[in-house]
């Protein structure tokens, strides 16, 4: 049993760390918040999700404003794909609340554990992609992209050139983005891993455009499920406040540090933490 003041202080510090490391390896801090709340503090998972998703809105919106200003984010692609991610988020949060009300919370633990393990793999994969250079960017026009204006160009500071791009395989990308929204609503995380996968790997957008546009969409995606959780009473203000403050502070610091260091050791540490938490979440779910 932890007192309220102790909780606020401890969770504030944990959230700073989660936001810091999350920003440094390119994941939101949200993915660490739910395991911390459920495993460390024994908070019911629906309230943990409610607290985590609030912080996701704040970190996404805070960093999105900077990328929008730098004209890297593709606003139209983001806003079009938000139809899919918001729809997915609504379905996801209703599914989670159905599990909770049916006494099936253990299912959420197992799904969360699997996502943590998948994210560990993704952090490893991203490191490789950054080492091996640019992904395949599509520049061939197509009818869907033309009609929906899903193209653009951005100033790449490393290549010192304007990189033009055209979205391809839009329907398949849309489905993956819907799944990302589903994951976000289901687990109270940003779902950026899947969003980037849909835009980078499927729609063949530049990696930098994919990550910043994904980040831009996360705030609105998270707001869809947060609205339902908030009105439903699952966003506990005392639980959520230190998380929101800590993750925002941490991710702002992490973004600054990222500019200076190549955090290979931090990546390895993060992968280990993700795998351990994933195993713990799966075990908790199995042993319900």
């Amino acid at each position: 049993m932890v007192g309220i003041d102790e909780y606020i202080l401890a969770m504030f510090l944990i959230s700073i760390l989660a936001g810091l490391i999350g920003a440094m390896v390119g994941l939101g801090g949200g993915i660490l918040v739910v395991p911390a709340l459920t495993i460390v503090f024994g908070i019911p998972i629906e309230y943990a999700i409610g607290a985590s998703i609030i912080s996701t809105i704040a970190t996404s919106s805070g960093s999105a404003s900077a990328y929008v200003k730098d004209r890297i984010t593709n606003l139209r692609i983001g806003m079009f794909l938000e139809i899919g991610s918001v729809l997915g988020s609504l379905v996801g949060v209703l599914t989670t609340l159905y599990f909770v009300k049916s006494g099936l919370s253990w299912v959420i633990f197992i799904i969360f554990g699997l996502v943590l393990v998948f994210s560990a793999y993704n952090v490893y994969q991203n490191a490789r992609m950054e080492r091996e250079g640019l992904s395949m960017v599509n520049t061939t026009p197509n009818e869907t992209a033309r009609r929906l204006k899903l193209s653009g160009e951005y100033e790449d500071t490393r290549l010192k050139a304007r990189v033009p791009y055209v979205a391809t395989r839009v329907p398949a990308g849309f489905v993956v983005i819907f799944s990302a929204g589903l994951m976000s609503g289901l687990l109270g995380v940003g779902g950026g891993v899947l969003k980037v996968l849909g835009m980078d790997t499927l729609m063949r957008l530049p990696f930098k455009v994919s990550t910043t546009t994904s980040n831009f969409m996360i705030g609105v995606t998270a707001t869809a499920s947060t609205g339902i959780l908030y009105v439903g009473g699952y966003v506990n203000l005392v639980l959520a406040a230190p998380v929101a403050l800590g993750v925002v502070a941490g991710s702002m610091g992490g973004a600054r540090l990222l500019l200076r260091s190549k955090p290979a050791s931090i990546r390895i540490l993060f992968i280990v933490v993700l795998l351990l938490l994933g195993a713990e979440m799966i075990l908790t779910g199995v042993q319900h």
Binding site: A58, A224, N236, L237, A244, L245
Partner: protein, 132 residues
């Protein structure tokens, strides 16, 4: 290229809404936490688990009790305002996009952003209350 000027304005407006929304809510969150710790409400001397179970920190969703709480210096009311500012930020961002696309006469994107706005409002106004 014809959309370039309009899109720059869209980026500026959207960026400013996000920046100031998050800044405002963070400041209010910080004030709420400090007030809550300095002046704990009744029932706050228990464990965090028991407090959550007892509904301490559950949003009131009532404008009159929020205003009353603010006047009485209740940290929980301040935290409720902070949360609402945060949730409102992306909603305002999408609403502003609808207006800007309408002004650009980009009906396709006015429709797309209006659909997103509709789903957000549907969640808060229609679906949310059924889940309480």
């Amino acid at each position: 290229m014809k959309d370039r000027v309009g899109d720059d304005e869209l980026g500026d407006v959207v960026g400013a809404i996000l920046r100031y929304g998050v800044l405002l809510s963070s400041v209010v969150f910080a004030a709420g936490v400090l007030l809550f710790v300095a002046n704990p409400p009744a029932g706050a001397s228990t464990s965090i688990q028991a407090a959550v179970g007892a509904g301490l920190g559950r949003p009131t969703l009532s404008p009159s009790s929020i205003i009353g709480g603010l006047a009485a210096g209740n940290g929980l009311s301040v935290l409720e305002v902070a949360t609402m500012v945060l949730i409102a930020t992306p909603v305002v961002r999408v609403s502003a996009s609808v207006v800007l696309f309408l002004r650009e006469r980009d009906m396709l994107y006015a429709g797309i952003t209006a659909l997103v706005l509709f789903m957000l409002v549907l969640g808060i106004v229609v679906i949310g209350p059924t889940q309480a």
